[in-house]
Symmetry: C2
Subunit: 459 residues, 2 copies
């Protein structure tokens, strides 16, 4: 506490968080339709200042390319940073319009009862409040998250990757400029740029309601360790496909190959393959051969390994023995851990104790196996004869995706705008003397608890 | 880590947490109807062993009464500990039957879409997993929480107040004895008895999904500071009543008096009273007089204080000047902090920055004030002309109450069995070749995202 810089960073964090909270509270009385007007204003300002944004992005790119040349940044990161690539700026703007066209997730009545004569209770969805969102070095995410926050009525404090700092900074200031012409306060969306600001913000549980770290297990855990604020995290994606005894060959081949090879850096790609022991000498060698022809390296347990003897001579570099660690690993590349199991329940047990509870698919024709899978598997997405790559907000028809939650409270799996709301109870007495519990518990009235039509919220 | 006792407590905690997780996973394949049979079995065993339970309770009571005599425990705590009071044991047993008769919160379809031809997605409610519940020294709560956990399909680890240790221990072992005769594993409900076990359990985020501390702000904060596991906390209840310009006198008097005096130790009792400035010389003195006649001490700001000049002479011991601290205080007794405000928006601003976002009531006839109140107030329960004491799961018709959440994610306000569930997505391909995203994104099929009838879950 005696370090003046840390104390000033903590004061700055408190001011930012407090301003966000005030902006949130102020915005609650603003009509919901103003949110779409604010999104429109942001789109217009960004469209008009495209050159300035791209100039800032060019500076970020130059710094990044120098670091790439020194081997300090990856090529894929630098490529994700580039906002000048054909269509990318336009897609960012279109994203704002797309979010504006989604249904408003707040103001929905999810429960309505007459508690007793003259006393109506409604449970109405509302924004969570103030979000702190920490994300990777993709500058367009600033705009995307700002749009989602505004549409759902949540104020947000954003922190992007340091490599995109100049681009993020100008995007944020243009968003504030646009908001200043609308009914939404300009401090509704704010940005911070340093890690020390994040750690100070994590102490502001008085003002911040939810932290959303997008960026893997280590980031999520370190944030959970350092805050009292609830965390909606997107941690690892260790997904499995299990090929059951009754699997149809074509289904197994198509689903396994796509789950593994379609986009290997995605969290919903498969990292583990479980094979029923009855298939070791039949389906398994064909599947292995197909995977190898797709350049996938197989790390096999003893039984799946020995079943590939013939294949191993021709493709020895693609086949090796697995370690226990392999079954806990998110490879994000052309490696697949393979294991033999004796039954669907052994497969479920393996996945429950090794996976990240994200997405797992079974290949089977057996209804009982399907039922065990969907009920016994403690995963957000339990699939049958379908690629793990379907686990995605857009593919689910949620309209957009805030992230994929690997947590088990509030929101799980692909999270749409609905994951950014909570609810409040609104109760109104229409009785001429108001309502006390004594009226219903000791007086003439009694609780009826009759369901009311949900319809529109009372206010 | 070199302290052998701490390492053994941490090993013990891991074993307990792992056993709970395994019991949870095992139970997922058990038919839902078995949960009610388990509840019935627990009731029967407890009924048969009533004498043993009361004997253990008598020992707890003797220890507690000795501590009471030494001034180390409060009378109310000792009274809450007593399970032999008339009707209390029977009420505990009836509670099990009541929970059994509630609707099952799991297996509800909350979203169902055909993603495209032959590919159906259902979002189905399911238990959160393993709960760690920390509660006060009321032994019957062990039975109540066990019943709620079983009904909702969650395994639970329970820690009650140390004063009820002997009673809790025998209740827990009888619950395990009853479960061992059913399809629900006996380790589905476990108890721990020491604080050091709790701190070791808070590190078991691999096995435990949700911590529910019931016992005030300090306990909740200390747990949030020491775990990565999500916390559903029941912290302070700093509730306010605001008497608006257009308030009807009778409504104001009835609602304010009940909100403050009905049960002062309750979290949904009022601690703050806000008075519109136009009422200072009219309604306010009458209200003050009524409160004083109910033995309520008023801590007033300058304006409400000077408006009570006439009254103050007769009742000086009930009227004093407030401090800023009073507006942040949960008195839980016959004290009320009073403040003048100029408008509904000033009232909202005061409450948003001083209250615990629990329950606040406005007395008004003005529709615009009502709307501002329900929208602008960042509280779980926003009431109009009704007593704050209505904020309760049973009064809301939720069937039971797991607790009142003062958090803003997952569940907010009075929490019923619904607050103990989350959901998973179940997806099934009915296509003859299974389903890949390529089929819908590059092939002949397209996403349709048509809503399906919700009905029963597929499995």
């Amino acid at each position: 506490m005696s370090d003046p810089s840390s104390s000033s960073s903590s004061n700055a964090a408190e001011s930012i968080a407090k301003a966000a909270r005030e902006a949130f509270e102020q915005s609650q009385l603003v009509d919901v339709s103003e949110r779409d007007l604010a999104l429109k204003a942001i789109r217009e300002v960004l469209e008009g200042k495209k050159d300035e944004v791209l100039a800032a992005n060019k500076e970020d790119m130059e710094t990044a390319e120098a670091l790439l040349a020194q081997g300090k940044l990856s090529k894929s990161l630098v490529s994700r940073l580039d906002l000048s690539r054909s269509g990318k700026f336009q897609a960012m703007l279109q994203g704002i319009t797309d979010v504006a066209s989604l249904p408003v997730p707040t103001g929905q009545v999810t429960f309505a009862k007459e508690l007793g004569p003259g006393l109506d209770l409604h449970r109405v969805t509302c924004p969570v409040g103030v979000l702190l969102v920490i994300f990777e070095a993709r500058p367009e995410v600033v705009v995307n998250i700002a749009a989602l926050a505004i549409k759902s009525g949540n104020a947000a404090i954003l922190k992007g990757g340091k490599e995109s700092l100049r681009t993020s900074t100008i995007l944020s200031s243009l968003i504030a400029e646009a908001l200043s012409k609308t009914s939404i306060p300009p401090t509704f969306i704010q940005s911070v740029s340093t890690r020390s600001e994040i750690s100070s913000l994590l102490a502001q549980d008085k003002y911040i309601d939810l932290v959303m770290p997008r960026g893997g297990n280590e980031l999520v855990k370190s944030i959970q360790n350092n805050t009292r604020i609830p965390v909606m995290g997107h941690a690892d994606g260790i997904c499995a496909v299990y090929v059951d005894e009754t699997a149809v060959e074509e289904k197994a081949l198509r689903v396994v190959v796509e789950s593994k090879t379609d986009y290997m850096a995605a969290c919903n790609s498969a990292e583990t393959l479980l094979i029923h022991e009855s298939l070791l000498s039949t389906l398994w060698p064909k599947l292995a051969s197909t995977l190898i022809s797709n350049n996938v390296h197989l790390r096999c347990d003893a039984l799946t390994l020995s079943s590939l003897k013939d294949l191993a001579e021709a493709s020895s570099e693609f086949i090796s023995e697995s370690t226990e660690e392999d079954y806990h690993t998110e490879f994000l590349g052309p490696i697949l851990a393979v294991k033999t199991v004796k039954s669907v329940s052994e497969a479920i047990k393996h996945i429950n104790s090794h996976s990240s509870h994200h997405t797992d698919s079974i290949i089977t024709e057996n209804e009982e196996s399907m039922s065990s899978w969907c009920r016994g598997l403690d995963s957000a997405n339990c699939f049958i004869n379908a690629s793990t790559r379907f686990a995605d907000g857009t593919r689910y028809g949620l309209g957009t995706e805030v992230g994929i939650s690997t947590g088990k409270t509030h929101a799980r799996g692909p999270v749409g705008l609905d994951g950014l709301v909570i609810y409040k109870y609104m109760m109104r007495s229409k009785n001429t003397s108001g309502s006390t519990i004594a009226d219903y518990e000791k007086g003439d009235n009694r609780y009826t608890h009759e369901d009311l039509e949900r319809g529109k919220p009372p206010f």
